[in-house]
Amino acid sequence: MAVEDGLKVELGKQGVFVTTIEELYNWGRRSSVWPMQFGLACCAIEMIATTMARYDLARFGAEVFRPSPRQADLMIISGTVTKKMAPQVVRLYNQMAEPKYVIAMGACAISGGPFKQGYNVLKGIDRYIPVDVHIPGCPPRPEALLQAFVTLQKKIDAQHLTGQGRPRHLDSAAQGEFPVPVQGEHDLEPTSNPGVWTVPVVIR
């Protein structure tokens, strides 16, 4: 039973703290999102700058970069994903425990960026794994990564634990593992995961 905001404030003034399991649960999840410690290209330098004292990602509970996918909640795709690297990125994502989130950082990670027409660069990591927040920029400034991080926190906060749109780890029917693309003779096979990505409609 949800408590009205006004009543909650009123009760708070009387020294009574009222909350819901959902709120408490989401508060806990969003306040300790631990990113995985890996960088792919120059965006990683900005990511490192974000964690340092000037921008201080620790303010948002994400200062602990884990060197193992088993302990990480967030994957920051910081940089160019080459076709040679893409299977490893998907495999690392599969190895992360639920609940897990992805921030695609920078032009290369979201679309291939300046290398889009190259033979060796993936045209966006969202072709293989579900991306929660996309950040444009080449590279994005640390403020942009902080903005993406806050956006992700808001997204986690807004998730309901039951019903439609609940997090994947609470939905037994949800897809848990994402197929790792195979490096074929000419290109990655398949070129995208249709369960995650379909060709967007371009409106001109």
Binding site: K83, K84, Q117, Y119, N120, K123, Q183, G184, E185, H186, D187, T191, V199, P200, V202
Partner: protein, 230 residues
């Protein structure tokens, strides 16, 4: 920029030919202001020549700074040739055969090849560069060239890159594997006739060549879909 200590390419050529008999070195002139002429080596003597360039006291080219490749595709050349041809003419009711010079356009195909370029410097003598070139016989089945990795260790990864992107097979290379692309990859992306995979399904800001490829992809895809629904 040539340091005053370095010999000219002509002098280097003469020195090579004196040291390695039958080396068959050709000078490839460079008409640009840099005048960075290069030496084309005969692949059969390349290893001996390379060793001479490294060990010779005057040259002492101890540092290989760069290895790169060039793809020369098959070229169709149209030439105008003057041909003498018998021509029959009717004059005064009598057929006469006379020889006339006729201009004819003939087409011939110049076979292509793969070329590898090495840039050498001397750290000891502080001079350079000396540019070496080698050509394969063709660009399909006879693409072997001798590896210069045994002479200059720094050639190892760069020759692997040339093998990866151009498909030149270096004989005598200690570890000839693809460097940048994955092992199962079959193509050589830096070749002029490389066709990249048709992944132009989503090009929101396409222009020029990409727009053409995206339109072609769209057309092919729509006809496929049309066939599927029939």
């Amino acid at each position: 920029m040539r340091e005053k200590g370095l010999k000219t390419v002509e002098e280097i050529k003469a020195a090579i030919e004196a040291a390695v008999p039958g080396a068959g070195v050709e000078i490839v002139p460079n008409s640009s202001p840099s005048a960075q002429h290069s030496l084309r080596l005969d692949p059969r003597h390349a290893a001996a020549v390379a060793r001479f360039l490294r060990d010779n006291e005057d040259l002492a080219l101890d540092f290989l700074s760069n290895v790169t490749g060039i793809d020369w595709p098959d070229k169709e050349v149209a030439e105008k040739v003057k041909v003498i041809r018998p021509v029959t003419k009717k004059g005064d009711g009598v057929e006469q055969t006379a020889e006339e010079t006729v201009e004819e356009t003939r087409k011939r195909v110049e076979p292509g090849c793969l070329e590898v370029v090495y840039h050498l410097f001397s750290v000891a003598k502080k001079h350079g560069p000396v540019v070496l070139r080698m050509r394969t016989v063709n660009r399909t089945d006879q693409v072997e060239l001798p590896s210069l990795t045994p002479v200059w260790r720094s050639a190892e990864f760069q020759e692997r890159e040339v093998f990866d992107l151009y498909g030149v097979v270096f004989t005598g290379h200690p570890d000839l594997r693809r460097l940048l692309m994955w092992d199962a990859f079959k193509d050589h992306p830096m070749r002029r006739d490389y066709v990249e995979p048709d992944d132009f399904e989503y090009e929101p800001t396409a222009h020029d060549a990409v727009l053409a490829r995206a339109a072609a992809h769209q057309a092919a895809h729509q006809t496929q879909e049309g066939k599927g629904s029939e």
